[in-house]
């Protein structure tokens, strides 16, 4: 694991006793059963665990894309649980960047247009948004590819475009859902190098949900989930903390 934010770094995300149940009655599925969890500023934190353990649900509630039933979530000092839906949307717009498993780039738009979307949503003019999008693409090594359609790019390049889109409006929290699962090992490694650099920003936190054990080494901390609960948290020194105490 890499050099990372220290335990003294301020908290970026604080999740306390969060619960989430899908469905009702006999069909109800308790996806989160009182999750406690923290992420620090300047940290790349991974949430890992078997399929169905609730890690994507946890990511969704932290990102403010899914309502939760109980508990509290604070992201950079803002209490999501106390916000009205309109303010949660506003919060996401300004402070959260998303990187998706399937990239979710709009195929009919050029790379620059895809990257400019968060800026346009935040009210930037078209010219300003495209200028900053091109600069961001240059920054992540896609010089001169801005006017191509994403479908003309390789998987790794598409994920770079997605990363550019996630960062272009300088969000404080970057949420990544299986960012390397659609990529080969080398490309996945390059993407993780990039994400680790992104996380080095002192006022930012990167949370990655993954199954891919090849990229665990890039995490500052690993949060293991099982059956809707955080089981343990590993830090970079190999120490781990069971849910409820340190070992």
């Amino acid at each position: 694991m890499s050099a990372s934010a220290t335990t003294s770094s301020p908290l970026a995300v604080q999740v306390r006793a969060v619960t989430k149940t899908f469905g009702t009655g006999e069909a109800a599925v308790r996806a989160l059963k009182g999750v406690d969890f923290t992420a620090r500023q300047g940290e790349l934190l991974m949430i890992v665990g078997p399929s169905g353990c609730g890690k994507t649900t946890l990511l969704s509630v932290i990102a403010g894309t899914l309502n939760f039933d109980g508990g509290e979530i604070e992201v950079f000092g803002s209490s999501l649980h106390a916000m009205k839906p309109r303010h949660v949307t506003e919060f996401r717009k300004r402070h959260v960047g998303f990187i998706f498993q399937q990239f979710n780039l709009i195929p009919t738009l050029s790379c620059v247009e895809n990257v400019s979307v968060p800026l346009l949503i935040n009210g930037a003019s078209r010219r300003e948004a495209e200028r900053r999008a091109e600069a961001m693409l240059d920054q992540i090594g896609l010089q001169g590819r801005g006017h191509e359609r994403p479908t003309n790019l390789s998987g790794g390049q598409q994920q770079r475009v997605a990363i550019a889109r996630a960062l272009v409006h300088e969000p404080r929290l970057v949420i990544c859902d299986e960012p390397t699962s659609a990529l080969d090992k080398d490309t996945g490694g390059h993407i993780m190098d990039l994400l680790r650099d992104v996380a080095r920003h002192p006022d930012r936190s990167v949370i990655v949900v993954t199954h891919d054990n090849r990229i665990f080494k890039y995490a500052d901390r690993l949060t293991e989930m099982e059956d809707g609960r955080v089981q343990r948290v590993h830090d970079q020194g190999g120490n781990f903390e069971e849910s409820g105490g340190t070992k």
Binding site: T65, T89, K93, V96, F98, T108, V117, L120, I121, R126
Partner: protein, 379 residues
């Protein structure tokens, strides 16, 4: 964001073409059929444009211009004697058979004009002189009549040519332009006296009386005076126009036939457009969900969908309206089928097409509104 919304739409070429095509078709169907319907109804009132008079006096049971009940010859004097009438002249309208060179017969609509004043004369004389209609056996034929009655001849009928009208010789002394009659009969004009010679004798020959109010009398006052004095029905031109139109509404299946096609156009447009746009939104739901996750509000996404939908609406309407205009120009040059497109028709169609687009957008908006942004995290 709106330019990106349009690029998303234009990028899906198949659906874009389908949407524009569907709305073009709907626009064409609705506007063209409405225009043909208006044109057809206009043909029912061709007498008013071809004979032009302020007051039309007919039997009191007559409801429309194409079904006239004969009056007595003396009735014209009764109208003249009514207070408020400046002048009144007789008019004879009958359908007679004209014989073609090849032996066939064609019906023509013969109009007998007052010998002295020629009130009710054709609106435009293209060849010859109007006054020559007073010559023996003289007739003024409209362009359609020339075309119809020239069948079987080496060259089209012209001035001085003769044809057989109800076993009597008729000589063409002028060619006129007249509005087409609802039944498609050509107009032929002669003097009142001559027309009575062409037509078989009946007990009552006068079809109607054309009149004008005296100075200081309004049309309505003069019409009321004629009605009270003579017991006949006196219509103003506008009253007879609308009475005729409504008679066809009430007594024929024409409005229902056309209305059903117009409604069909609306339904087809709504179905194609609504279904295609819904499919477009459905296929892009993941991307729209991603935009929502990134902070795009429901209102912004709704506006994007409206921009997409209204854009195809404007395009489809524009192309459809252009095609209908081209169709209209072509048929107006030929004279049939009937076609009349007042500004209210394209305006009405525009409103309907925009309603279709708003409905389609609404289907998409409803879908997007319900989407949780967390959809983007599902594999």
């Amino acid at each position: 964001m709106y330019h990106l919304a349009l690029k998303m739409l234009l990028g899906d070429r198949a659906k874009y073409v389908m949407l524009v095509g569907g709305l073009t078709f709907a626009t064409m169907l609705m506007t063209q059929q409405s225009a043909v319907f208006c044109g057809l109804l206009t043909w029912t009132t061709s007498h008013m444009r071809n004979m032009r008079a302020k007051l039309w006096v007919v039997d009191r049971k007559v409801e429309q211009a194409n079904e006239l009940k004969p009056l007595r010859d003396t009735d014209v004097n009764r109208v003249r004697s009514a207070p408020g009438v400046a002048w009144a002249v007789p008019l004879y309208i009958t359908i007679q058979s004209a014989k073609l060179a090849d032996g066939n017969f064609k019906p023509i609509l013969l109009v007998g004009l007052d010998n002295t004043t020629l009130v009710g004369r054709p609106p435009v004389i293209l060849q010859g002189k109007l006054e020559d209609v007073r010559l023996p056996n003289a007739i003024i034929l409209d362009e359609l009549g020339i075309k119809r009655l020239s069948v079987g001849r080496a060259k089209p009928l012209g001035l001085g040519d003769t044809f057989e009208l109800n076993d009597k010789e008729a000589r063409i002394v002028a060619i006129c332009r007249a509005d087409r009659h609802f039944f498609g009969y050509p107009y032929a004009y002669s003097t009142y006296t001559q027309a009575l010679q062409f037509a078989p004798k009946q007990r009552k020959m006068l079809s109607l009386v054309l009149a004008e109010p005296a100075p200081g009398w309004t049309l309505e006052q003069a019409a009321a005076s004629i009605q009270s004095e003579t017991g006949m029905k006196a219509y103003t031109e506008e009253e007879l126009f609308w009475s005729t139109i409504w008679w066809y509404f009430r007594n024929t299946g024409i409005p229902i036939a056309f209305m059903s096609i117009i409604i069909l156009g609306f339904i087809v447009g709504t179905t194609i457009s609504g279904q295609t746009f819904y499919a477009f939104v459905h296929e892009n739901l993941r991307h729209l969900g991603a935009l929502k996750a990134m902070g795009a509000s429901n209102a912004l996404l709704a506006r994007m969908l409206l921009v997409q939908s209204l854009t195809v609406g404007f395009l489809g309407y524009g192309i459809g309206a252009l095609l209908v205009t081209a169709f209209g120009r072509a048929v107006l040059a030929r004279g049939e089928p009937p076609f009349m497109m007042p500004w209210q028709l394209p305006a009405g169609t525009f409103v309907l097409v925009m309603a279709i687009c708003c409905f389609s957008a609404l289907l998409g908006i409803r879908k997007v509104w319900k989407v949780e942004p967390a959809i983007v995290f599902r594999g």
